[in-house]
Symmetry: C2
Subunit: 220 residues, 2 copies
């Protein structure tokens, strides 16, 4: 029974890791859709977000089952509480990827991102995807070392957001609508990154008993 | 023991209701700070957000204790899972109120909101606050009827957001920086409202066994 129980805990953590990998793929494709003005790829992102929603329900049902039937205590109980929270973070990452894809859809057949910002948005996408992958790795390995990369990438994301806003406020020549799109895109990528950090921090907390930092977004 | 247990559940729900009331106050003051360019009021919002953060930790510790010592099942277990999720929603509402207050601080001693948008932003603030109050009432009463008002106000918030974007895209004459501020403000109020809906829906689900609607934000 107890062996089956720990198998269940490992399975739940593994499922959350797989979901985080799916969130990374969703944001990767959303960025491809955005930069390539590609409707088909954008539609695929909605499919992944729907998939994440279903997967989250399954994990939540499994978590209820463990809580009700196994009545875990101590770190096992904390793992279950972490699973409920992390499920919410991953679900939200899927929605944020959908928001990015929606910008592509709204501007199609035009390109939403002006040439000048193309490299910067691509970098934001790359960093966001890498952070989700790192968070997934932390869930799979529960290795706190994997979480170290998140912190570096989180600083990189902050720098990119600042650079984006500097560009928007310095003789922006693409109009108000485009400025709003870019500001909201910056926010979507940043929030996606915040959720990746929250996931990794939650796992590190479970393993080490110490919260690496306040997982909520820094005020900006 | 069981009587004490149900007292604990009621206390946790009550604490979450009080926290939601505090989130309503935070957003009310943030809007006052924003529209009045009032630094003192803006600083008070940070204090409320910090208070919410501490209250959330207390509720979470109490929830752990109940889960570990009382091993609740069925609807009692669902109440505990709801408490973990709702704690996250309320915490986030405090952060969003802080974001609104920060816009006021950044533009001080100027006024962040152009006169033309003053009534609309005030309405967004009113609706957001009312939604948080309704969500708090649902937590206190667990009366599904209280949740009905949320749905009407949520539609109102959608309409206000659309009106805001129409204004921004129609001969906006206050510059790019102000347009970005207004777009982000619209998003903060809207997300605050989304969390209020998620709270009320969670409670209704507990009581009626039926989820009123997808609690996550509609794609926009």
């Amino acid at each position: 029974m107890r062996e089956g129980f720990h198998g269940q805990l490992t399975a739940i953590r593994g499922a959350l890791g797989d979901m985080t990998d799916t969130a990374a793929t969703a944001m990767e494709r959303a960025t491809v859709a955005l930069l390539g003005a590609d409707l088909t790829v954008a539609e695929g992102v909605s499919g992944l977000a729907t998939q994440l929603d279903a997967a989250r329900r399954v994990v939540e049902d499994q978590t209820y089952e463990v809580l009700a039937l196994q009545q875990p205590v101590a770190s096992d109980l904390r793992t279950m509480v972490m699973a409920i929270k992390v499920g919410g973070d991953i679900h939200r990452m899927g929605t944020l990827a959908q928001h990015v894809a929606k910008v592509a859809v709204r501007r199609h057949p035009g390109f939403a991102v002006p040439d000048e910002l193309f490299p910067l948005i691509r970098k934001m996408g790359d960093v966001a995807v890498r952070m989700a992958q790192s968070a997934g790795a932390v869930l799979h390995s529960t290795d706190a070392a994997d979480a170290g990369r998140l912190s570096i990438d989180d600083d990189a994301m902050d720098g990119l957001r600042r650079a984006l806003f500097r560009t928007l406020l310095d003789n922006w020549s693409y109009g108000v609508e485009s400025a709003i799109d870019m500001a909201l895109l910056g926010r979507y990528y940043e929030r996606f990154a915040d959720h990746a950090v929250a996931i990794a921090d939650g796992v590190v907390y479970l393993v080490t008993g110490e919260m690496p930092r306040e997982p909520d977004e820094k005020l900006s």
